[in-house]
């Protein structure tokens, strides 16, 4: 029982601990088996990492919004990378889901949720916008409503616009409800 309490206590402390400010390089394969490294995108003005899912209704509610943001910003030297860290969502499922939903950006499979752990990502959808040195410029939601017609604050787009105009991102951290990333051994 004491051991149990200690484990919970450690878990609690780790939850309270400081957030990740910067990440280092990592390599992952996409759903076709092609390997990508974060350094492949270091010439970008910003790298948008999007933790997404195939089965999460919240993530799926954002499919068309992710597509339109990608279409709007891909020509402006901003790179988009989807990451699927859910243990139960297979590479073939990710591939067909991307095709069905016209998600044309790169989607990487984060086997054993190593990158989700590294970035402390916990929910889908969850966004990290990095600069070329992999500093985190923005972390959080795409916008402020799961219902597209009720969106008031386009947080990801605002962050990208500020980055493109050389300004500091004014709202660096936002939150929204979403699905828990299904990790191994959880």
């Amino acid at each position: 029982m004491i051991k149990h309490i200690v484990v919970i206590f450690v878990l609690f402390i780790s939850i309270l601990s400081a957030q990740v400010q910067k990440t280092d390089n990592f390599k992952l394969k996409d759903y076709n088996g092609k390997e990508y490294s974060l350094t492949d995108f270091e010439n970008s003005k910003a790298i948008v990492l999007m933790f997404i899912a195939t089965q999460c209704p919240v993530s799926n509610a954002y499919n068309s919004r992710m597509k339109s943001i990608y279409d709007e910003y891909k020509g402006k030297a901003i790179s988009f990378i989807g990451i699927n860290s859910n243990k139960q969502e297979s590479v073939s499922e990710i591939k067909s889901h991307a095709k069905d939903n016209n998600l044309d950006f790169i989607i990487l499979k984060d086997t054993d949720n190593k990158i989700a752990d590294k970035l402390q990502a916990s929910v889908t959808p969850e966004i990290f916008v990095l600069d070329a040195d992999f500093n985190i410029l923005y972390h959080g939601r795409i916008d402020d409503s799961r219902r597209e017609d009720q969106v008031e604050s386009h947080d990801l787009k605002s962050a990208l616009d500020q980055i493109l105009s050389g300004k500091e991102v004014s709202l660096k951290e936002t939150k929204a409800f979403g699905c828990t990333i299904k990790r191994i051994q959880s």
Binding site: M1, H4, I5, I8, F12, I15, L16, S17, Q19, Q55, P57, V58, A121, S122, V123, E126, G140, D144, S145, R147, T174, K175, A176, F177, G178, C179, T180, I181, K182, S186
Partner: protein, 157 residues
């Protein structure tokens, strides 16, 4: 006459059904936490669209049944308030949830930030408050009856 009777019955059922899920604003949440009346509070944040949340609920029902003297399990659905009848109530009935149920009426971010812990809004999440109203534990992801019991037993003692 018969149609009027049917209408009244229908109205009664509808009114009863609606009274099962209350809208939750910040003041309701503060009141819920502060007015403990000698019981531990297990606050469970969930949604009908969330599969692990749905899977966790039978364990919460059992937790409330087993420790009804010492704890209050309270659910907060983060579905939209206009989904009470269509989504939340049918699930409550199907699972036979007897504990108190709210639907969040605050902005999502305001509810997430209310708890003042590092939580990005992944559901399910549970918050355990001592009898004094002090937040003791935050748990993210689906938990089992055993997980909840481990903590509850320590707090009851």
């Amino acid at each position: 006459m018969q149609s009027r009777l049917i209408f009244i019955i229908f109205l009664t059922i509808t009114v009863n059904a609606q009274s099962e899920v209350e809208l939750l604003n910040k003041s309701d949440l503060e009141k819920l936490i502060s007015k403990r009346e000698g019981k531990i509070l297990v606050l469970n944040i969930w949604a009908t669209w969330c599969i692990p949340c749905r899977e966790e609920i039978p364990d919460l029902i059992e937790l409330q049944r087993k420790y009804s003297k010492d704890i209050d399990v309270v659910g907060i659905s983060v579905d939209f308030p206009d989904e009470v009848e269509k989504r939340i109530l049918p699930f409550i009935k199907q699972q036979n949830i007897r504990y108190k149920m709210f639907v969040n009426n605050m902005k999502d971010e305001d509810l997430i930030n209310f708890f003042n812990v590092k939580w990005n809004g992944a559901v399910p999440a549970s918050f355990i408050y001592e009898k004094t109203g002090k937040l003791t534990l935050f748990m993210e992801g689906k938990k089992s009856l055993k997980d909840f019991e481990g903590i509850i037993k320590e707090l009851i003692m």
